[in-house]
Subunit: 455 residues, 2 copies
């Protein structure tokens, strides 16, 4: 990246508007308006906010920028929005693959979490996850994990945008004694971040089978009163739905609706097993979906009918889930998988075309988290959350269509530069706010601890 601090004077500089940053890119895809690809244009940033998108020649005449970036052969898009993650679980990446789901959870993941998960684990794991997310173009993530105060602090320090969805479970765990305790702790954390521009809090009742009606009713009331977002694992497998029907007589989606939880503030994660009644409820209530295709495949959870849900007008976003069941946090790979899988599941090769896949990974994600006034597209007035992808590698040639290369050919390795709120967090693949060596070293410490090589 050619990056210069402007000190040269111009004859007509008096007429120019001084701003923080100008980014000149070979291509810009703003996502809104849809299907638009700008060539040889520039994006002007001041005070962390997008001020203009205009032809580069015009931009140089109109603005005097304190910092300029020339992105040769790079495509600038909105920063990617990962709507479902358990960031700290990156420390358990590849720790116990290829097990049946319940064996994996009961014999490996849960006992390991019980033994090791605390603030230090969460801080180290979240930093590792953020390093990977930034290196693959994600600027915003929603996170659901224990010790959310550690996640929030790590995201604040690293400069990322985050929705901290604090976990609510009716049973005791390393972080909370019960549902009421979790809600209390989560709301206290919300107070700490009330005035923060990048960190928001959300309720994350874990799943219909771990949270009872009383707690869910309380969450619905709080969410409504405080205008807070809610996210919940829902219909992850057909077995979960069948078991719930056997126990409660109704489908979990109906139960949540009866408890007042389905609304535009609600994000349902997974939804592999949906029928017409579920779709009608989600549609009617404006409830969002977080689709996690790679986790659903790896854990053999099922196939979410994305094309059908999108056709019903339901807002579908994309999440990676935790790295323990993926095994990475690369949103471009996740989006590629979502697009390919949607075609096969619907039986239509033209289902979920590239521009729709990109929308799922950006503006739909921002909507799902309730922050589409701030991020998710390159529009004047929104935060400068940006991701620049290099399309010059051999694997991208010939370049018939930059949008196609982005969705069907690129992956996180092609991401070169990332900004959040106008601040450069990844520069030519180098992390600007995280110490790569320290992150790597801490991952090694946890590997040894978990393997019992030391403690």
């Amino acid at each position: 990246m050619a990056n210069s601090n402007r000190s040269d004077s111009h004859n007509n500089s008096s007429k120019k508007q001084t701003i923080d940053t100008l980014i000149h890119a070979r291509w810009i895809i703003p996502v809104v308006p849809e299907k638009r690809v700008y060539e040889n244009c520039s994006l002007a940033i001041d005070n962390g906010t997008i001020r203009a998108i205009l032809p580069s020649l015009e931009a140089r005449n109109r603005f005097d920028a304190r910092e300029e970036h020339q992105l040769h052969n790079q495509l600038l898009i909105p920063g990617l929005v990962n709507t479902h993650n358990h960031a700290a679980m990156s420390l358990l990446r590849g720790f116990a693959d290829d097990r049946p789901l319940m064996t994996w959870l009961e014999k490996h993941i849960w006992p390991t979490e019980k033994q090791w998960v605390g603030p230090e684990f969460v801080a180290d794991g979240t930093r590792l996850a953020m390093a990977e997310m930034l290196r693959s173009g994600t600027t915003t993530f929603s996170d659901q994990y224990f010790f959310p105060e550690a996640t929030a602090a790590a995201a604040r320090e690293a400069g990322m945008r985050a929705q901290i969805a604090f976990p609510i479970i009716d049973f005791p765990n390393n972080w909370s004694r019960n549902g009421a305790d979790a809600i209390e702790k989560g709301l206290a954390l919300r107070d700490d971040y009330r005035s923060h521009s990048r960190i928001g809090l959300a309720f994350a009742p874990h799943a219909p089978y771990t949270v009872g009606d009383e707690t869910l009713r309380k969450i619905a009331i709080y969410a409504d009163e405080l205008g807070m977002a809610v996210q919940m694992h829902l219909h992850e497998t057909a077995a979960e739905v069948e078991k719930a029907i056997a126990e409660t007589g109704i489908r979990p989606t109906q139960r949540l609706h009866d408890l007042g939880l389905l609304s535009p503030q609600m994000l349902c994660v997974h939804m592999t097993a949906v029928d017409d009644s579920d779709i009608a409820l989600l549609q009617k209530t404006g409830t969002h979906i977080a689709h996690c295709p790679r986790s659903n495949l790896k854990l053999a959870s099922g196939f979410t009918p994305i094309a059908r849900l999108l056709e019903a007008g339901i807002n579908v976003s994309i999440g990676t889930d935790g790295a323990a069941s993926n095994n990475g946090l690369d949103m471009l790979t996740e989006t590629n998988t979502a697009a390919l899988l949607a075609k096969a599941v619907s039986g239509q090769a033209d289902a979920v075309p590239a521009h729709q896949a990109l929308a799922m990974a950006t503006i739909n994600g921002a909507r799902a988290l309730g922050i589409d006034d701030v991020t998710g597209s390159l529009e004047v007035g929104k935060a400068a959350d940006l991701c620049a992808i290099d399309l010059s590698e051999l694997e991208q040639q010939p370049l018939h269509d930059p949008l196609s290369q982005l969705i069907y050919t690129a992956n996180g390795h092609n991401v070169r530069n990332v900004w959040v709120a106008g601040k450069l967090l990844l520069k030519d693949r180098g992390l600007m706010t995280l110490n790569e060596e320290e992150v790597r070293q801490r991952a090694g410490v946890w590997r040894d601890r978990i393997a019992g090589r030391s403690s």
Copy 2:
């Protein structure tokens, strides 16, 4: 990679055996024997052949190598075997995505091929494909495309191992007038390469709906007489199978069996729509399968039941298909997709574990092409076809299990070094036998031609 030409003398050099190459690797996974991971071992090569795999300390005492490579943090595996490709179609990568299958073929791919495909297109496209294949760890590919003489020449020059499966279609096309003409041209090409150690020829009748019984019978006889491999697109979609039953009264697999084509020399490509009778026939005859999951997803072709086929003892290999329907040739990504998809399709999270996925991408591929005496595993006496993957990146941390990272976390970008028959073709991601700039420039020329910007 630390790479030194040894010129230092040792006191005990007289006791040592002089060989061409010693490669010291952090990890070696030989694939055969299964599930084995060697740490801090070395691979000894002489005359292009693997001479030994042994602990690095011992290797340095026993051998004096003209060339040594120290692969820090790298995992050495057999070179990947891509059993189905249309390499030259890389020039049509991303050219017409998101169309229904028949629109894509009839309105975009076929007219463009008719206009442009000739020896120059195939040579340039194959070089682009080989550059991508080498940069992502593939050492052997089977290719089915027009002007196979151009493909063969390009592979010979680049030093790759290739099975040139010359296309046989009963209708006139840019390369051949009819089935008989294609067979004649293909067998002449076979004569040219009869004594070549890396290039083999195979029959590629295109599909049951483009090749009639007479031509297929002829191919069966030749294949048997000459001991040649055959590969054919088969059961790519359920619609194809239904149409065939309506027209012929039998399933295409049964028809091929009746014509004498199913045997251990036969590789069936795709097989998304299989029933018990198909599985029984494939099993009984020892016929192989090339599974192309990303193409099957993108073209909405269907889901091949890999776990079930493997359980029936059928040899399943992996192919990328052409880059026009993928949109890349990265065998690690393809293998990852195959493993994840197999779990979801079978409903078993422990289906196709990592070691089985790696076998599909290596030894099963070599078997499918009839060259498992030469390649597909790291065994003494086999060719030194090798791929080294860097596991030091942040995205690979913490490293609980190198095999898991290889299949579930790595992709082509992590490949650093590749050897074919002991010759280094990719060194620290640099191509040794292909001119990267020229390959890129030719791709640009074809992009402009196809877009009508020039001719």
